[in-house]
Symmetry: C2
Subunit: 384 residues, 2 copies
């Protein structure tokens, strides 16, 4: 786990992750939260403080009755260690350096001429060097790199089994990337990485179950149940995009009809908008412009897409009942066009109390994917 010690007591890990994700918190509160004695928390916190990962904050103003020794909350020393995160897409590398709390310190990116493995790895090496050799010199305090890749990834081995966009098959990406960068590398599926980031440092903090839905070229979903990421026994999970919501709907590339993605994927929207506007050269951006300008047929395309997404999200809520759901993704640049319809579709199709599940719908800030990748490497620190 940590540089000096190798095997670490369960309580130490628990204390560390709780302080990490649930902010400054006193030892007594930690003990209650974790079901430990306060003595155990004191003991677990000591090595973490000695190693510089935690620090004791000055006593804060009281809340309760007012008497008694004030608590000295434990907090993460976010700049104790830095983490590089890189999202690899077909034509670009997006990289960030994050601190322990997944706060982005610096970002950079690089265009790729082709998804050729050697080219990507060369560029990755250069990108990492650029990030770490920035004026602040993060290199000395950076040991880990997280990579986010779309497709089927085995996190435990760092193997990319299959990535359609990149056209990679059974690529030992961890090994290759470790050789080039000299950092300890973790590889994870991009949606899972993003879900992890939101679960540890975003709106999913503290939630025992949680879902993140990404809207873009495809419609994806990361699922946290019982506090841990759902992986799927056959390597498939979170495929919200291929839930069928209309037996008579448009054909989907998966072979079925009426999948959420066949109605609300970026390609599907463009296709429908072209038909609606009678202009076969329309782009996604054109469609957004038209809809915002009040074009009714094109607006209806977005409405239908939003409704489909809402239905799919309702399926998630009905089945697993997450404590909250975040909807995000590059598709939500056209956020205003979707949101009311996503909510309407969700409310209609959510059953009973499932409709109470809070929905956050918001566009995805730039470099968020890379931040997800960095989060995975923070997790790797804790888990190792």
């Amino acid at each position: 786990m940590f540089p000096e010690a190798d095997a670490v007591a369960p309580a130490v890990t628990a204390v560390f992750t709780t302080v990490l994700t649930e902010g400054p918190i006193s030892r007594v509160a930690l003990a209650r939260r974790l079901g430990l004695s306060s003595a155990a928390v004191t003991k677990a916190a000591r090595p973490l403080i000695e190693m510089g990962y935690l620090e004791e904050l000055a006593a804060t103003e009281r809340t309760g009755p007012g008497a008694g020794r004030p608590a000295s909350p434990l907090a993460i020393r976010a700049d104790r260690e830095f983490f590089v995160g890189v999202k690899i897409t077909g034509d670009e590398l997006i990289g960030v350096v994050c601190d322990l709390r997944a706060g982005v310190r610096t970002a950079a990116h690089r265009r790729l001429s082709a998804p050729d493995v050697d080219h990507v790895l060369t560029q990755l090496g250069e990108l990492v060097d650029e990030l770490l050799d920035s004026p602040s010199d993060y290199r000395a305090r950076t040991r880990r790199l997280g990579l986010a890749v779309s497709g089927d990834v085995d996190r435990s081995t760092g193997l990319v089994r299959y990535s359609p966009f990149l056209r990679w098959h059974d690529l030992p990406l961890r090994e290759r990337a470790e050789k080039i960068t000299g950092l300890a590398v973790t590889v994870e599926n991009d949606v899972k990485a993003l879900t992890t980031a939101e679960h540890w440092f975003g709106e999913g903090v503290g939630a025992e179950s949680f879902a993140l839905v990404t809207v873009g070229a495809g419609i994806g979903c990361g699922l946290v149940v019982g506090g841990s990421l759902v992986s799927g026994s056959h390597g498939v999970a979170g495929e919200i995009g291929h839930i069928g919501i209309d037996v008579n709907g448009p054909a989907c590339h998966c072979g079925s009809r009426g999948c959420v993605e066949a109605i609300a994927g970026a390609d599907a929207i463009v296709r429908q908008a072209r038909a609606a506007a009678g202009r076969p050269e329309l782009t996604f951006e054109d469609a957004v412009t038209l809809a915002r300008a009040g074009d009714a047929p094109v607006g209806a395309v977005f409405a239908r897409a939003g409704d489909a997404i809402g239905s799919g999200i309702a399926a998630v809520a009905n089945l697993v009942g997450p404590a909250r759901i975040v909807v995000s993704g590059e598709g939500l640049a056209a956020y205003d066009l979707f949101e009311p319809h996503i909510r309407a579709g969700f409310q209609r199709q959510a059953f009973g109390a499932a409709a109470d599940c809070p929905l956050s719908i918001r566009p995805l800030p730039f470099e968020e994917w890379a931040r997800g990748a960095a989060t995975v490497s923070i997790q790797a620190l804790v888990a190792s």
Copy 2:
């Protein structure tokens, strides 16, 4: 947990549940399976053997290389303790006595004149007495009773929050039942109980994730993810019946349209079959007879229903990727009419490797619901 000891070491519980669910197994195999040293297993097994819960089997024939001391597998002594399980429906109590391995030893049932609480509890008391005073005299070795009720149940407190069929609200069922029967009572939702039974003693054994779908008046689903039952943060989970698969489908009592249940629920099937046959007095059984006799319009109703169920199951597979799915329920008395269409709908809508998820489709044997209730009380023994 066990009669003599109160607090029990984690390893003891682990050994017990593993032997319970994964049959006779040697200490060494247990150690590997649980990630313990064989010494720890030896120590954990001793008190269980002394209390009569486990026994050592005679060495079996060898498998591997052939040399070495043969293993003496540990097995459950199933008749060490008995458990009563009762499923409570609106018009009937179905009761069983099960052994530790959830094997049904005896069964009995009682008609209810009304879902009146006092009446139900009186009948419950008499039913339990009848079951326990049978010739084999289970009473001396029975301490626990499990109750399965449809609706919203808080297992930890034994409170029935709301049961639509029984018209119960906030009923402290555990307390009342304990007073009447003198047994330690566990109350659980019926679908969850059935899922637990299948997970511990049926086709879900050993599966890290698993789903059970019940087909009947409603379409329900129990979900096991990461080894434990999914409960849903807002009290809703497994509502596969209200996933929308056809935006233009028939109206559902939930207020939406095209829910699985609005197409494949028993009521929906009867309604559609009446319309298809042009005979407004048709019953479900009549519809089954007609379909089996080759009536094409009525057959199409079952086909459409099966397909809808298959789509719903595919949504489960796409989202959580269970290791296997069991489809069962009283609706599957007409099993032959559904099965091919369930499979077809599933295959069409399952995405990628999700289609590899094995599906077991079979009718639900009588008293299986009550067995589920008994299973929950077996779990209570282990958890306590």
